[in-house]
């Protein structure tokens, strides 16, 4: 989807910034698109992600880019990774659903919301040590008590409490980052 003109209005107020962005777009969009197409092998996905890359750039509105292509490819790479994670999550979720007949009746919308939520959670917990992530999921998804989690992970209950605070802080920070992204869209 090509960016619509309205994208340019909300965050870039100064005329020269707007011009700068328009120039950046016209100079590098084609390059970014073909870079993504080579990576993904799909016209639609390459278009989507190059679009999202520029939207992200627009929101951050960096005043001066010395290496615009390095910057763009870094941002785009992050989005590609995200895209693959989403695909992984979706495929594995649907595969696991096959053994949960009562959930198959859910509407496609409800399913899409679940997958989107899972992606957010995965992103939020990304970068946490595996034991912290595991403890948090055992508590929040599987509903186990700190005591049981502590024995599973071979640590004391106090450590689980620290893990929980740490994982929640990660989620809160991700949620805030996300909120700020959404509100400026």
């Amino acid at each position: 989807m090509p960016p619509s003109p309205s994208l340019l209005s909300p965050t870039i107020s100064q005329p020269n910034q707007r011009e700068r962005f328009a120039r950046l777009y016209s100079q590098h969009h084609g390059w970014l698109y073909s870079w993504l197409y080579k990576k993904l092998g799909c016209v639609q996905q390459a278009e989507d992600i190059s679009h999202d890359t520029f939207v992200k750039l627009l929101k951050k509105a960096p005043t001066l880019l010395r290496e615009p292509r390095a910057y763009l490819s870094t941002v785009a790479h992050g989005l590609v990774v995200n895209h693959w994670r989403r695909r992984d999550i979706e495929q594995n979720y649907l595969a696991a659903l096959a053994s949960e007949p009562e959930l198959q009746a859910c509407s496609p919308e409800a399913r899409a919301i679940v997958i989107e939520t899972l992606l957010q959670i995965d992103n939020a917990l990304n970068g946490l040590p595996s034991a912290v992530r595991e403890a948090f999921l055992l508590s929040q998804l599987d509903g186990l008590s700190y005591k049981v989690i502590a024995s599973r992970l071979g640590v004391c209950e106090r450590t689980i409490k620290n893990y929980m605070a740490r994982a929640m802080l990660h989620c809160l920070m991700a949620a805030n980052d996300h909120d700020i992204d959404e509100s400026s869209r």
């Binding site: 994670r85 949960e100 071979g154 929640m168 802080l169």
Partner: protein
């Protein structure tokens, strides 16, 4: 509060102050989620919450995140998240996965050790336990009362969005109260066969291996079967009892009077068959009581205290045409005389 391992963010959360508030909210989440926050901690948390709007906003975010988790179907979500964290996407993640592998090996040992024991670790480590012949009563954090019948294990997991009781074995009886938190959290009992949602009520739940038995004394309880072909909920009203497994629910029947008398340590027999009575007694008996077919049809009336089974048996032998033989020291058989 202990220092966090996470460094302050460079973007997104704009100020150091905001970060501190989120850090405090995360700390209180971990305390409240533990399910054993002391009265002092609860007061401190309330005070923190009342301190200013920012604290309340941060706490609302915590609740929002908890609710997100509550709405996810546990098993497939878990599968999807595990697969995502294991997938090989780029070198950074490869390296992380190698570390994860090591951590998994370190974790594997305790689980393996536990699985060699006969009972499930959850059952052994449950927060609320009774042994054979023991009946206990607890008051939960929200003021609700729970009674555990003989040989029962259950976990009470109260978190920010849900009051959850997991019944692994035995029988519980619950008298709910209105939640102490501002937003009333649902109270549910989970067994291997499904979820029971209390609609402000008194009820008992007994866990058998092959099914779960629900008796509702007041108001109503809603059943969601674990593997039902549809997501339909079944409402069971006061004065009804019902058995269900993970797929099917049997027709409800009328609840006998005083069904919760065991919470007072009594079995109330109102024209009860001897074999049914002995089956009840067996739950409290360290050993085995059996009834010979010659005596099964005998009927009993009365209130019997389960704390002294040998005395009950001696009294029955006096008042009814039965004899009790001691096959083995721990095995008694009741026959018609």
């Amino acid at each position: 509060m202990s220092a966090s391992h996470t460094s302050p963010p460079t973007e997104g959360v704009s100020t150091h102050q905001e970060f501190e508030q989120l850090e405090q909210a995360a700390h209180w989440f971990a305390v409240m989620q533990s399910g054993n926050a002391s009265a002092h901690e609860q007061q401190q948390w309330q005070r923190w919450l009342a301190e200013n709007d920012q604290h309340q906003q941060a706490w609302q975010q915590v609740e929002g995140i908890c609710q997100q988790f509550n709405q996810l179907p546990a098993k497939p979500s878990r599968a999807a998240l595990d697969a995502a964290s294991n997938s090989v996407i780029n070198p950074v993640i490869n390296r992380r996965q190698a570390v994860k592998g090591l951590a998994a090996a370190a974790i594997a040992l305790p689980i393996w050790q536990l699985s060699r024991q006969r009972q499930w670790p959850e059952q052994l480590l449950a927060s609320h336990l009774t042994s054979v012949g023991e009946i206990r009563q607890f008051t939960l954090d929200d003021g609700s009362q729970i009674w555990l019948n003989s040989a029962t294990s259950a976990d009470v997991i109260y978190n920010v969005g849900l009051r959850r009781i997991v019944l692994y074995s035995g029988e519980i009886y619950i008298e709910t109260t209105k939640d102490t938190l501002q937003a009333s959290r649902p109270l549910v009992v989970d067994t291997r066969h499904g979820r029971l949602r209390a609609l402000g009520t008194r009820f008992s739940v007994r866990h058998h291996h092959e099914n779960t038995h629900l008796a509702v004394m007041e108001s109503a309880v809603e059943i969601s079967l674990k593997n039902s072909p549809n997501t339909q909920k079944h409402r069971i009203n006061a004065g009804q009892q019902v058995s269900f497994n993970d797929e099917f629910i049997q027709p409800a029947t009328t609840l006998p009077a005083m069904a919760e008398s065991w919470t007072q340590g009594m079995i109330i027999a109102d024209n009860m068959r001897l074999d049914d009575f002995i089956e009840q007694l067996n739950r409290y008996y360290r050993g085995h009581l059996s009834v010979d077919p010659s005596a099964t049809d005998l009927r009993l009336v009365g209130a019997y205290p389960v704390t002294d089974i040998d005395r009950i048996l001696a009294a029955l032998e006096q008042s009814h045409p039965i004899s009790i033989s001691h096959t083995l020291p721990w095995w008694k058989t009741i026959r018609a005389r």
